[in-house]
Each structure stands twice: as structure tokens, then as C-alpha cells.
């Protein structure tokens, strides 16, 4: 019987890890697409200001 009043008697990390280990039953979780890249990349890019890259006219 464990005496939990004296936790230093045990390697609690190891014990908790062993007794608490999750069942080994992996299930895939494919990442969902939420950002509509074509729209933001396409339409919004037209609205994005590009002052820094404007070519100078004239001289």
C-alpha cells in the first residue's frame, strides 16, 4: 500500500507515467482548411497598397 504522506519514497514521475499512460490507439486528425487563400491572395492583393514599389515617373 502506498503511503502518500511520504511521496519522496517513490519516483512519482515514473509511477504517474506508468499508471496514467493513455491507451495506445492513435486516430488521425487532418488539419482543416479555414483560410480562403485564393480569395485573400487574389482579390485582396489588388487592394494592397504598393507605394514602396512604385516606379518613378519622369526623371
Amino acid at each position: 500500500m502506498m503511503d502518500l504522506a511520504k511521496p519522496e519514497q517513490f519516483d512519482l514521475d515514473r509511477l504517474a507515467e506508468e499508471l496514467g499512460a493513455l491507451p495506445d490507439a492513435p486516430l488521425a486528425m487532418p488539419v482543416q482548411q479555414l483560410e480562403s487563400r485564393p480569395v485573400t491572395g487574389g482579390l485582396l492583393s489588388l487592394l494592397r497598397p504598393r507605394f514602396g514599389r512604385m516606379g518613378k515617373a519622369g526623371h
Binding site: M2, L4, A5, P7, L12, D13, L15, A16, L19, G20, A21, L22, P23, D24, A25, P26, L27, A28, M29, P30, V31, Q32, Q33, L34, E35, S36, V39
Partner: protein, 586 residues
């Protein structure tokens, strides 16, 4: 029309009626205010204020008509099945720097409650620790072993701590599913302060079994164990009004119901296939991890064709709530950031229209107080921009034309807006009295007293919340990330000094509002007092409302008779706290 189409038709009818009624109320507010504002000459400020009244009134009306919709119906009849359940269910308890003694005592109580149903072996508990504090984590390990020993839970109870808390709570659940999800057909997702009767969990599994298209079933958790004046007021409001609001919402949501992040059951493979959240491009607060993940997960399940439902008739589902206004505001700050982040997802591909509308509603919930504030500011500043009154508007007419007073219109508008706030709650009281529901709240007279006091209290605290919410919105808009603070639980008594430190800026704002109004629009001062006075008294209200409540007002069912699982949790907690005190003394 087939039988299956009938509920969906009812959903569309409810949506249309609620939306139309809200737009009509908002439109009426707009027109009445325009007439009032134009009485001393028409200018752009009148239009601006009328638009702000439209937006604010729409939001209030939406809430009011949702409650009215909820009053028109009863919970749908769900077929009862008393047979055995064979599916395995994981009960997930994510923890983050919580007190392990209290949290694990609740788990022991739920386990005992489940075993009493005879189906304890069909449920496993997984404590999913994202705790960053090593000392708290060390206590978690000790108390996990104690939990195992007390419940004979080896093989049924699991504990794992993540080394990195990537994705926060959503990432924590995702990590569990990726490692162990295939072992279970369902997962009941809880919060650290959640508590559920075993019979409720069994019933949730049965309802999932009975509806193979059901991806997520949300319960309506009841707030319990509130001790402070603020906490007990919220507890009463949550228990008395929320079921009606939730039912109204459910009538409009149909198959696209809500997920509130906890006290819900999900179909494991549906959740796994549909709900892995990406990290949004860019930095927080709008980029990075999705904070209010629950709304998004509900939307993703619906996108994948699963039904998401809230069953407000499921009792025995509990949670705790903040005990003071400051803790409430801190939690609200996190929700505000999460909801505003949803603006990135409004155009996400494939979402149901209602899911997009839910995102929009969540955003509006935080922006709408700003409409009121802008309206007040515009009203105070309006005289600066108003044209002088023209007493001789008719050419060659020798007598002055005195403008007709439109104060009655302003009064009418104020009464209308007040009605939108108060009428639904009074109707809920009437409904509860007629159906005998008030018995659970100390009787009809006590429920009436509690409702009236709650209306007064919520009116007084509304300007304080308005300020906190507006500050949260401004913080998010200027790019400040609120982080992921652990929730404060337990006794939340605040000294006046604590309250002052957290709200002195509200006092200053209230003072500035009154001074500006006195200077620019003295006639507005009486109208502004209900807003400005609570702001000026914010620290007093915050400190006072955080004190322990001994009043018989705000009595709720769980105070009259604690639920069985609450008693189980109390017994375990007392035993464990005594044990910890003895161990510390030794």
C-alpha cells in the same frame, strides 16, 4: 414536405421572424430618434446617432426576441432508452495550473456517480494536463495517484502532461485524440471546474447512439457554488433565464447548434475528421492559435455534415463561474479576443450560413457596447455641431415658429429600449410562475424579488461591463494579445484597493463624461446619470459585489438541495483536504 423537413422549416420560420422583428424594432428606434434629433434642426450628427441607435437596438432586440422564441416552445421529446450501453466513452478533463485537489475530487465524484449507474466500466477519465507550473504539476502527480488508489481506477483513469501546450485547450484535446482517440466512440469534454451526474453522462451517450448523424451534443451547464453577491446574481440569472434563451437559440440553430467548449459529448471519429484546427497566418491577436476554438469546431462539424445540438432538458451538468467583476472581465477579455479573431473566419470555405452568422453575433456581442458609447459621445458633442434654431423658417412670415418639443419621442425611445431589456426577463418569470418552475428558486415571491433585484444589479453593472468590453476591443484592435491566463477559482473577495486598481480609469471616464455633458449639453446630464454614476462608483460596486452573500435572494435549486454529485465531490474534497493538512503538519 416530409417529416424530417418539418423541424428545419420551423428553424427557418423562427430565424425569419426573429430577424424581421429585430430589424423592425431597430428601424422604429432609428425613425423615432431621427424625428427627435431633427426637432432642433437636422444635421449629420443626428443621422450618426440614429444609425448607432439602430445598431444598438437591433442587438438588444435580437436577444429579446430570442428569449420570446424560447418561451413559445418546450424541449423536444427525446426517445428514452433504458437499455445497456456498449460504446466506450472517454471523459476528458483538461487542466491548466488548477488546484488538483479540488479538480480530482470532482473526478472521483463523477466516477462514483457513474459507477452507481452500473455503467462505470464504459467510461474512462483522462486528465490532460497543460500545467506550466512545476510545483502544481508535482501536486497533480501525487493527487492522481491518490485518485487511482481511492477509485481503484487503474486502467480507467489516465494522466498525461504535455511538454508543450501548443494549441492550448484545443491542442490538448487534439493531442489526446491523436494518441488514444481510436479506443473510444465518444468523448465527453469537460473543464477543470465541470461536474456532471453519472446518469447525465449515460443519457448523453444514449442520445448519441440514438442519432447516428449527431456529431456533438451540448448540455446547458448550471452555475453552482457561487458565494459572492456578484457570483450568486450570475448563478441565479444563469439558472433562471438561460434555459429559455438557450431554447430560443436552439430553435433558430436547428442542426447547426453551438459548442461552448465543455460539458458536451462528441462523436470521436466525427470530431477527429473535422476539427483539427490550423494555426491562422499572422501574429496574435488575429493570427496564431484559434482562441475561441469551440465555436469553430461546431462550425466545422456542421460543415462536414454532422448535426450539432444543444439539449437544454439535460440536467445534472454543472460548472463554476467567476466570483467577482474583475475575474469576469479577465475571462471576457480572452473571449473578446477569440470572438474578434473569428472575423478572419467569416469567409472560411464551405461553412454553413448560420455558422458565419454565429461568428458575426459573437463579434457583435463585443462591438455593440461600443455603439452605445459612441452614441453617448456623439450626443454630448452634438450641440457643438448643431445649426442654430431658425425661428423664421417661412419666408415673409412675420411671426416666429417655435419648434415642437420632441421630448416625448425621446422618452418613448427610452421606454422601448428599457422594455427590450426588461420584458423578456419578466415574461420568463411569468412563464416560470405559471409552470411551477419558481418552486426551484424559493417560490414565486422570492423569484420575483430576485428577478427585480437582478434587473437593478445588471442595470448598475452594465456601464462597468461596457467599459471593460470596450477596452478589450480596443486592446485587440491595437494588436495586444491577452495571453492565456489561468482562471481564478474559489473565494474572489476584493478589497477596495484591488477594485480601485482595476477600475480607476472607469471612474475617471465617468467623471469626464459628466463634466463634458455639463459643459456642452447640460440638459443631457439627468439622462447620463444612470450610466455615469455607476462608472464613478465602479470600485465601490466591484468591491461590494465581491463580498460573500448571505441574502435569501437569488436562491437556486442547488442551494435548496445540493445535487448528489455535488455531495460526493464535497465529501471527497473534505477528506482529501484533511489528509493534505495532516501530511503538511507531519
Amino acid at each position: 414536405m416530409g417529416a424530417a423537413d418539418a423541424p428545419q422549416t420551423r428553424v427557418y420560420v423562427t430565424r425569419t421572424l426573429t430577424l424581421t422583428a429585430s430589424l423592425l424594432a431597430a428601424g422604429l428606434g432609428f425613425i423615432v430618434f431621427l424625428q427627435f434629433g431633427a426637432s432642433d434642426g437636422f444635421d449629420a450628427f443626428d443621422v450618426l446617432r440614429a444609425v448607432l441607435i439602430f445598431a444598438s437596438t437591433f442587438w438588444l432586440a435580437w436577444g429579446a426576441f430570442t428569449a420570446l422564441a424560447g418561451l413559445t416552445t418546450r424541449p423536444p421529446a427525446v426517445p428514452r432508452d433504458a437499455g445497456p450501453i456498449r460504446a466506450m466513452t472517454a471523459v476528458l478533463v483538461p487542466v491548466y495550473n488548477e488546484d488538483p485537489v479540488a479538480t480530482f475530487a470532482r473526478i472521483a465524484a463523477m466516477d462514483a456517480s457513474l459507477r452507481a449507474t452500473g455503467f462505470g466500466e464504459r467510461f474512462h477519465f483522462a486528465i490532460l494536463s497543460d500545467t506550466r507550473n512545476d510545483e502544481v504539476a508535482a501536486r497533480e502527480r501525487i493527487w492522481f495517484l491518490r485518485l487511482l488508489a481511492d477509485t481503484h481506477g487503474e486502467g480507467r483513469m489516465f494522466y498525461r502532461r504535455r511538454t508543450s501546450n501548443k494549441g492550448r485547450k484545443a491542442g490538448n484535446i487534439e493531442d489526446f485524440i491523436k494518441r488514444a482517440g481510436a479506443a473510444y466512440k465518444y468523448a465527453i469534454i469537460l473543464d477543470a471546474d465541470s461536474l456532471m451526474e453519472g446518469a447525465t453522462m449515460v443519457e448523453m451517450v444514449r442520445r448519441m447512439e440514438a442519432a447516428p448523424d449527431l456529431g456533438l451534443l451540448q448540455t446547458l451547464p448550471t452555475i453552482i457554488r457561487a458565494k459572492s453577491r456578484f457570483g450568486r446574481t450570475m448563478q441565479f440569472a444563469g439558472s433562471f433565464y438561460s434555459p429559455i434563451f438557450a431554447r430560443g437559440l436552439a430553435m433558430m440553430q436547428g442542426r447547426t447548434g453551438p459548442f461552448w467548449g465543455h460539458n458536451a459529448i462528441v462523436r470521436m471519429h466525427a470530431f477527429a475528421e473535422s476539427c483539427a484546427l490550423p494555426e491562422l497566418s499572422g501574429k496574435p491577436p488575429f493570427g496564431g492559435h484559434i482562441l475561441s476554438h469551440d465555436y469553430v469546431e461546431a462550425a466545422l462539424l456542421a460543415r462536414a455534415g454532422w448535426t450539432v445540438r444543444v439539449d437544454d432538458d439535460l440536467t445534472g451538468s454543472y460548472e463554476e463561474a467567476p466570483e467577482n467583476i474583475i475575474d469576469h472581465a479577465k475571462r471576457d477579455r480572452r473571449w473578446c479576443q477569440g470572438n474578434l479573431q473569428h472575423s478572419r473566419l467569416l469567409l472560411a470555405p464551405g461553412l454553413k450560413a448560420w455558422s458565419r452568422f454565429v461568428f458575426l453575433q459573437g463579434i457583435l456581442a463585443y462591438i455593440a457596447p461600443g455603439f452605445w458609447l459612441a452614441f453617448l459621445a456623439a450626443s454630448i458633442a452634438a450641440p457643438l455641431f448643431a445649426p442654430p434654431i431658425d425661428y423664421f423658417p417661412i419666408e415673409y412670415w412675420p411671426f416666429p415658429v417655435i419648434p415642437v418639443s420632441q421630448v416625448s419621442k425621446a422618452l418613448g425611445l427610452a421606454v422601448g429600449i428599457g422594455g427590450l431589456l426588461f420584458l423578456p426577463k419578466m415574461l420568463i418569470l411569468l412563464d416560470a410562475a405559471l409552470r411551477g418552475r419558481t418552486r426551484r428558486f424559493g417560490g414565486t415571491i422570492r423569484a420575483l424579488q430576485s428577478t427585480l433585484t437582478e434587473l437593478l444589479f445588471s442595470s448598475i453593472t452594465a456601464p462597468i461591463f461596457l467599459m471593460f468590453q470596450t477596452r478589450s476591443v480596443l486592446q485587440v484592435l491595437r494588436g495586444a494579445d491577452g495571453g492565456w491566463p489561468a482562471q481564478t477559482r474559489g473565494d474572489g473577495t476584493l478589497s477596495f484597493g484591488d477594485a480601485w486598481a482595476a477600475s480607476h480609469w472607469i471612474v475617471t471616464t465617468g467623471g469626464v463624461v459628466l463634466v463634458m455633458a455639463q459643459w456642452l449639453s447640460p440638459q443631457l446630464v439627468p439622462w447620463l446619470l444612470p450610466v455615469a454614476l455607476p462608472m464613478a462608483l465602479a470600485p465601490v460596486i466591484i468591491a461590494w459585489s465581491s463580498r460573500a452573500s448571505t441574502s435569501a435572494l437569488f436562491t437556486v435549486e442547488t442551494e435548496l438541495a445540493a445535487a448528489p454529485v455535488m455531495l460526493l465531490a464535497d465529501r471527497t474534497l473534505t477528506r482529501w483536504q484533511d489528509f493534505e493538512a495532516d501530511a503538511t503538519a507531519a
